[in-house]
Amino acid sequence: MVATKPELLATAASLEELSLLADAGADAFVIGESRFGARLPGEFGLEQIGEAVRIARGSERRPRIYAAVNNLMDNRTVGELPAYLGRLAEIGVDAIVFGDPSVLMAAREAAPQLRLHWNAEMTSTSYAQADYWGKRGASRIVLARELNMEQIVEVKQRTSLEVQVQVHGMTNIYHSKRSLVDSYLGHLGKAPEQVDSALGQGLFLMEADRRDERYPIYQDAYGTYMMSSDDICMIENLHELLEAGIDSLRVEGLMKTPAYNETVVRAYRAAIDAYAADPAGYRFDPSWLAAIRRVQDPSRELSYGFFYKEQVY
């Protein structure tokens, strides 16, 4: 029996990376611009998104292009949303990703044909929430990275929406509207200009009692982000998600080089293809993980994230 293949979803920092990762086997991309989308590896204005769609349509694999419209929106931005979504629809993106209901409101008004992926990151936590947003037009729920395998599988069993989970890379663990690095520099008597705290500048935090873990931190116009100290890597156990029928597997490329992301996409592509060709005979191939390990930053552990954790509260 040949199984239905889930989508392998990647991010891209540029059109070049998008082409590279499409060739490496990505089935879909989330791209966008920071005015509307949060925590993106690179800026894709409407023109670049249009170009990405053209590249995708012209390529053999025809990857899907999703636009990230997942910021927490303020009053000023919601005024711009209808026109923005209208343009995205004209350009022909395959879906938009959102986590603020203002985007749903704007889509109903300006672009009702757009497919909607609900992604509120850490607060997308149950099948019941999936159904809620499904009834309001979403075709996909992107699950919180803080759920475990059992919970993910149950969501998939109980909702009719497509289910997306992140299988590789870092996750956002804290988002503040405050400019916390600037505030701290002020406390140290330094001017904010003395330190470039933007994405990609390599700033990290170390908690006083956890000296072996580095938590990347960066600032942009919308606040301060703290990121996980480890990278999720589910390549060894991908079959569990494949068996569960998860619809989309995301490889997060934030703060990684195109070469790293290419390696990771190739590894997951190989695993997904191998499983689809022969689910019963599927075996994890250690060379997939070995390839990732060769390019992995040694200060960042590859982990199972929360897939096998029991949390308390």
């Binding site: 927490l72 203002s102 704007a106 929430q129 803080e146 663990i173 400019s179 006083a208 509260y313």
Partner: protein
């Protein structure tokens, strides 16, 4: 304060309430009673499930029923925070729980998870559903979405400014609730899983261990830029306090003034509610002649646990709004007791002990509406008339002479330095 007073005031509307509601936290039944007695129009509590303060006492249904009855005597309402983001396994039992809340007379739930919102609307239509601040609502379109979903009230994200509230109010006729006092997440509430990562405790189901207040080294170019403990990075925020800005909050049309703190003490809740109650009432009694009274501010500082600021109402918080140095207790006072009885003939009061006190100590009594006096502790006796060298035992009933008349539920604090 001068800076902000020069700006034009935003004029909004309260659509359903003729004056704003003062909404207070109550971690247990006693705190509920005191919050209401000291002037809260409504209190919010946590039940045994679905709330974000798993460390608080939290209410049984029986206690809720008693709390609702007590509050009703003052014309006050009781809300229940059901503000977790539910996981699959939390959904079972939700319907029964919500029906039970409706049955015991709860007026509203405060919910963030749309699954809880929808379930409440379906199975417990007598409960109002208020959208929690955990949904991080910052804009009018999102407020409109929730209004169209049938919610009568939205609690805004603490990141919303007065100007933004005014704009929201101009677009949507819905009750707006805003935090006006208390501790703040430095992140968007709900958009933080530091506890999950550091301690495997789920912050969005009540397990937050306040990792934002821990100490961190910030590394730039591979090196830490801190020099010593007091130079370390933290995300910890000062606490919100809007007592100086009651007129602006009223004029912008905030419908419910919310005080944070289901984990806070009885003394804290009574003191803070008392101060805001007086300020709101003074404004409505004479809007043009309104002035901030220094004693309100003094009272607030006697309960404050941390340095205070105005959050995001006027501007985005900066260096001065975060706590990098070790935290100091703001005021040299401690809660000492609660008045149970008073005898006008003898001038003696019975006080239930809540903290050690002894003869010679400076104490002060306060009650609802701003009654207040100071005195020194004179002779102490127990109920049987035995003289005591100190009030040592929690909940012990102590007889002492008071300098002015007091009433049951008045509170007593002592000076500690």
């Amino acid at each position: 304060m001068g800076m902000t007073m020069n700006k034009p005031r935003y004029q909004g509307k309260r659509y359903r309430l003729d004056r704003p509601e003062l909404l207070a936290p109550a971690g247990n039944l006693e705190k509920l009673k005191f919050a209401v007695h000291y002037g809260a129009d409504a209190v919010y509590i946590g039940g045994q499930k679905y709330g974000l303060r798993s460390g608080a006492d939290n209410f049984s249904f029986e206690e809720m029923r008693e709390g609702v009855e007590f509050a009703a005597r003052y014309g006050a309402k009781v809300f229940v925070a059901t503000n977790i983001y539910a996981h699959n396994e939390d959904i079972d039992g939700l319907e029964a729980y919500l029906r039970k809340l409706e049955e015991v007379g709860i007026a509203a739930i405060i919910a963030a998870d749309p699954a809880i919102v929808e379930t409440a609307q379906r199975v417990a239509p007598g409960l109002e559903v208020h959208l929690s601040t955990q949904q991080s609502v910052l804009n009018w379109r999102t407020v409109q979405f929730w209004k169209e979903e049938g919610l009568p009230r939205v609690v805004l994200a603490r990141e919303t400014s007065l100007e933004e509230i005014a704009e929201i109010k101009s677009h949507v006729d819905i009750e707006i609730e805003a935090f006006i006092h208390g501790a703040m997440c430095s992140s968007f509430s709900g958009r933080c899983v530091l506890s999950n990562h550091f301690t495997d405790r789920d912050s969005n189901r009540g397990g937050c261990c306040q990792s934002c207040r821990w100490k961190y080294d910030l590394y730039v170019d591979g090196d830490t830029i801190a020099e010593g403990e007091e130079q370390m990075f933290t995300m910890g925020s000062k606490d919100l306090c809007m007592i100086r800005h009651i007129p602006e909050l009223i004029d912008v049309g905030v419908d419910s003034f919310k005080i944070e703190g289901r984990m806070k003490s009885l003394h804290y809740v009574a003191t803070i509610v008392n101060a805001y109650r007086q300020a709101i009432d003074a404004y409505f009694a004479d809007p043009d002649g309104y002035e901030l009274r220094p004693e309100w501010l003094e009272e607030v500082h006697k309960a404050a646990n941390r340095p205070l600021n105005t959050g995001f109402f006027f501007d985005t918080p900066g260096t001065e709004d975060h706590i990098y140095e070790p935290e100091e207790k703001a005021a040299p006072y401690d809660f000492a007791g609660v008045v149970l009885e008073y005898d006008e003939q003898t001038g003696l009061a019975v006080v239930q002990q809540r903290n050690h006190f002894k003869p010679g100590q400076e104490i002060e009594f306060f009650g609802p509406g701003g009654t207040f006096f100071k005195q020194t502790v004179d002779e102490l006796r127990d109920r049987e008339g035995n003289r005591l060298d100190a009030a040592r035992h929690p909940l012990q009933e102590i007889v002492l002479r008071v300098a002015e008349p007091v009433r049951p539920m008045d509170m007593m604090r002592k000076r500690i330095r």
